[in-house]
């Protein structure tokens, strides 16, 4: 997936995460994560964000994530939405998740 512009998904509400993705040419994924559950879940949130990006084929990006206690499924949804917006793509890959 080719990122073309800066895009945002999510809110600052409790239980949500706000993801801002900015295109970058090289240097991998820079992640700036803050969370109100940093100690307990920071590691897992970071892993889910990186996993979701690499699943979409995004290797270089500057990502800012402000987490307010979102569950993993929410983190995946917000990262995907921000990435598709940043790529100006609507080629969504719908799937049934268990």
């Amino acid at each position: 997936m080719q990122l073309k512009k800066t895009a945002v998904a999510g809110t600052m509400e409790s239980g949500d995460i706000m993801i801002t993705i900015e295109p970058k040419d090289a240097g991998g994924v820079d992640l700036d994560l803050s969370s109100n559950v940093m100690q307990q879940y920071g590691r897992q949130i970071e892993a889910v964000i990186r996993e979701t990006l690499s699943g979409l084929g995004i290797e270089n990006a500057a990502v800012q994530a402000v987490d307010k206690g979102a569950l993993d499924c929410t983190v995946r949804a917000r990262v995907s939405a921000a990435a598709f917006r940043a790529a100006e793509s609507s080629d969504y890959q719908w799937e049934v998740r268990k």
């Binding site: 109100n36 559950v37 307990q40 569950l71």
Partner: protein, 510 residues
């Protein structure tokens, strides 16, 4: 009577006496009104009162927390003590709130070097968790504190007790029956124990009323000095109008389940006794119990503890015979204490001290909230999920131990934080006195109480193991990484018999 006659009294050395009568001084003849304005315990200023008490460096001062977040007594008194140059004092409050953040400066400048309290919140709690104090804070339950005061483990040199009304001889109360307004805090139960046992007692009041200020929370024979102060507390912070019923569907579900559990376990009968916490779910439980009481025409013999307007309303409609009130949580409760003769004010000792048979020992059930519950049924109400102090022990372990059925209510998860976990961050109430855990996603019964589990199943309530509840929570939010702590101990947690049940360590943010 002649001195020589003493020898003629058999066993005189076994009869306690103060020698032979030798007359009295002049008897007063002025009127009550004249005496009253001249001979009383009112001193012109706080500074005068502090001097009169003989307070010295290194001594212990105490406060009550009936003014909660509206308290202006602690900060004003400690400011004055700092100004007068006192150092190295122990501050023993029945509890502290976010409003007490200014204590941070007095800890840094050495005025206060040790703190005892039931709880801690706000900036002071944040800083203590980050290592502000050299000597760890001692956390006691309300009953444990009362016991420690009586036994001398917590010796109070001077108690500074705010009172919304007081007469010139020291009869003090949490409201006033006189014309003209004052602030109101309702019951002054925690202050009563301090007043009884402290070496010196100073009442700080914003309303001096005529003698005798009856009924009183604190009698004049417990009081040494009185100071009038215009501002002892902010009514808005002391209590809100009426504690509202929750509309949160999760809390309502928990409350309905808790009421069903109490009924099924056999503790809901004509003449039962109960205590409700002030949390959303436990307040809502009172509402469901009320409906069941009306439907089955049964009454509650007494409600105990921190009292809310809901309990007062049930008393007024004849559903609860007696209220034993150690702390009034809202204005409706305070009003009921003033108006209803069977809404009775009790001390912390009477409420929960393990040194004597206390009211908690007569409870059928108690509904208690929790921040965390672990798979051994231990409960934490003191440290947040980030390890920082943000709560109070209150009467949690006292009532859990005293009640025949202790029911702990909590949502299974709060946001992403699971409430049922492997090991609580801080043990406040041991699992050995916790009987049932009620969450929005299921009920667990302590294996110590197989007969309760059996009764619940018979009533159609599904009983999970606590492990199953923990697994449900983890399936939803994932398994949390543990909080990182440093080795340094910043808090010592006492069980209600004042044995050390756990410690709180400095959080590690490096």
């Amino acid at each position: 009577m002649d001195e020589k006659l003493l020898n003629q009294i058999p066993h005189i050395d076994e009869i306690a006496h103060r020698g032979v009568y030798n007359g009295v001084g002049p008897k007063h003849t002025d009127t009550f009104l004249e005496r009253y304005s001249r001979e009383n315990k009112v001193l012109p200023s706080l500074e005068d009162a502090i001097r009169a008490t003989g307070l010295k460096d290194g001594m212990t001062i105490s406060f009550h927390h009936h003014f909660r977040g509206g308290d202006h007594v602690v900060n004003q008194v400690v400011d004055k003590l700092a100004e007068m140059g006192f150092k190295n004092l122990t501050l023993a409050a029945s509890s502290l709130a976010a409003v007490h953040a200014p204590l941070i400066d007095h800890i840094k400048n050495g005025v206060i070097t040790h703190i005892e309290t039931s709880g801690l919140r706000g900036e002071l709690a944040e800083q203590v968790s980050r290592g502000l104090m050299d000597c760890p804070i001692v956390f006691r339950s309300h009953g444990g504190r009362a016991a420690a005061i009586r036994s001398g483990e917590l010796h109070i040199d001077v108690a500074f007790l705010g009172a919304p009304s007081c007469d010139p001889y020291g009869n003090a109360n949490g409201y006033s029956r006189e014309e003209g307004g004052t602030i109101a805090c309702g019951s002054m139960g925690y202050a009563r124990t301090d007043a009884e046992y402290a070496d010196k007692v100073v009442i700080l009041t914003n309303r001096l009323v005529g003698y005798p200020n009856a009924p009183w929370a604190i009698p004049e024979d417990n009081v040494d000095y009185i100071v009038y102060m215009e501002d002892i507390g902010d009514p808005k912070g002391i209590m809100s109008g009426a504690t509202r019923y929750t509309k949160n569907p999760k809390e309502l579900l928990i409350a309905q389940t808790a009421a069903n559990v109490i009924d099924a376990a056999g503790y809901f009968y004509d003449g039962f006794s109960m205590q409700m916490g002030s949390g959303g779910a436990s307040l809502a439980t009172a509402r469901f119990l009320r409906d069941m009481m009306l439907e089955r025409k049964i009454r509650c013999r007494f409600a105990l503890g921190g009292i809310t307007g809901q309990i007062a309303a049930m008393h007024e409609e004849g559903l609860i015979d007696r209220i034993l009130d150690v702390q009034s949580f809202d204005l409706d409760a305070a009003r009921s204490l003033k108006l209803n003769r069977f809404h009775h004010q009790i001390s912390a000792t009477y409420y929960a001290s393990f040194l004597s048979a206390a009211a908690v020992d007569q409870l059928d059930f108690v509904i208690l909230s929790a921040l965390e519950i672990d798979t051994d049924f231990n409960v934490n109400v003191l440290t947040g999920s980030d390890g920082v102090i943000r709560g109070a022990i209150g009467g949690h372990p006292d009532t859990a131990a005293g009640a025949s059925l202790s029911v702990v209510v909590a949502p299974l998860t709060r946001g992403r934080i699971p409430c049922v976990i492997d090991k609580v961050n801080t043990i406040v109430t041991p699992g050995s006195v916790v009987d049932v855990v009620v969450t929005d996603q299921g009920v667990a019964v302590n294996p110590r109480r197989p007969e309760v589990a059996k009764k619940l199943r018979k009533a159609g309530i599904h009983v999970y193991t606590i492990q199953e509840l923990k697994d449900k929570a983890e399936a939803l939010v994932g398994k949390p990484d543990p909080i990182r702590y440093k080795d340094r101990v910043v808090g010592v947690v006492m069980y209600r018999n004042n044995t050390i049940i756990d410690v709180i360590r400095q959080i590690d943010e490096d």
